[in-house]
Amino acid sequence: MGRYVLRRFGLAAITLVLLSMIVFLISSVLPGSVGRAILGPFADPQSVALVNEQLGLGGPLWERYFDWVGGAITLDFGDSYQYRGAPVTDFLWDALWRSAKLALLTLLLVVPLAVAGGAMAALRQGRTTDRVISLAGLTLAVTPEFVTGVVLIAVFAVGLGWFPASVPATFSSPFDELRAMVLPAVSLVAVLFGYIARMARAGTLEALAADYTRTATLKGLAWGSVLRRHVLRNALLPTIAVVATQAGYLLGGLLVTETLFNYPGIGRLVYTAAKGRDIPMMMGGVITVGAVFMLLTLLADVLSAWLNPRIRLGTARD
């Protein structure tokens, strides 16, 4: 198990380095002048040249990359271009924390719902309940989040006025904050529900068809205990991995949702940084998203490995 975790960590580290290279390459071909991007269209050419010089945008690519990596190892992603002088990390942690809160709320809502829904669909396989849950999940999962979001805003924020349409700068109470996060969270729940429910359904079906379930049933166990002790336990293993993967995506991926609801999370941070040619911010954000994603995947792997004695204890025989 220790070896396994170590190995996975090593691989994740390599992947992260590769990711940083890819992103660095992409960002190094960003068009136009950074100085122009910072100072805006009407700035004097003289000023633009000055800023370009200040930012030290010279030197060969690999040299700049190693400079960057040197900092990144100590979690110093340099100073932001757009928030001149301010360290990128100040923004990153705030945005990450906010995204994490949103992600957490989303997961708290979606996981129990989707797992229960998926398991229920599996138990009623082929019947109406299954059809309804599967179809609804599928439909929600493939409906772009901005479509769901727009509808949610129109109905619950503008129409009924139950929840804010966007996230204000400050909150008078944690309750207010929670209320503001409901709509973005729900639009994310809609997207995730289908994935997780599908996974839970497949896992449950597999466990239901497994020989050990047959053993348990033929042992004369009550159906309830068969489900609890034998089916669900094994069915949830693959679901854990999906949840973690989706959590990773939540943090960075749903920049569309964050933009739509004006939620200052890390997705929007990267998006605005990219549009504003704020390369340090963009690099920092992308690497953070990637690292968090990998960490969560790793965690999920380790967790499912730990829950799965075959991996935890190693295979005694082959």
Partner: protein, 292 residues
Amino acid sequence: MSALVAPQAPAIDSKKTVRRELLHELLRSKAFLIGSAIVLTWVVCAIFRDFIVTFDPTDDNPFQQHRQPLTDQFLLGTDRLGRDVFSRVVGGARVILLIAPAATIIGTVLGVLLGLVMGYYRGVVDDVLGRLIEALLALPVILVALLALVSIGTGTLIVTFVIGLLFAPVIARTIRAAVLVERDLDYVRAAQLRGERGPYVMLVEILPNVVGPIIVEFTVRLGYAIFTLAGLSFLGFGSQPPSPDWGLMIAEERAVISAGIWWPSIFPAIAIASLVIGVILIADAIQAAFDR
């Protein structure tokens, strides 16, 4: 070890009947029928656009009757420039049904080749490419697409290529898994044992056996291509105005939903959702048919 395998008696099915069997399976699936009906509707819209639309989807009738609600003349109302929403929604089908399949084909071809090479050769090739793919997959596709588009600029062609390239790793991963299973089968060994070279084994021996996963993967990715392209258009990284692009239409008109002007944005939203759902329903049914 000796697990007994049922000696299926010389089955009656020939090559043709295998396909017919699959088709029958699909035609019996409600999901497939509904999905096909939806997709077909949009395909018809795309192909016969000029016979269906009542106005030129791009630029007829500006300002004459902007933001008109639904009437007999304007079936789905008009938008802020007085353009017929119905015509634009119908015209939008052509936009998406050109670029989404194109992007998916690029991704599938690349992904399949990559998956074959990785799965077949394993070893260093697989490790290196695998890490690269892992690295790319650590970020949501839409985020990477955005970075790429910001760097190299937008445009239909570029977006198509970027999405294709970004889908390749995902597809490669699936195909690789299928190839890994195949390459451990004895027929591959038998081919190697008579001195076949790598490309022959991959393309002639293995490829035909992973057609199932490829078809499934293609349809699933097609659904997500539509999804992603719409998202990019919504963020302003897709087709250029005045192209009747659904994502763009929603982005342009979403602000006025609250003013009660819902038709210019809700209809494209329904269009996107229905097309993606249609494609995914088909993908689901195909997968189920292959799994059986």
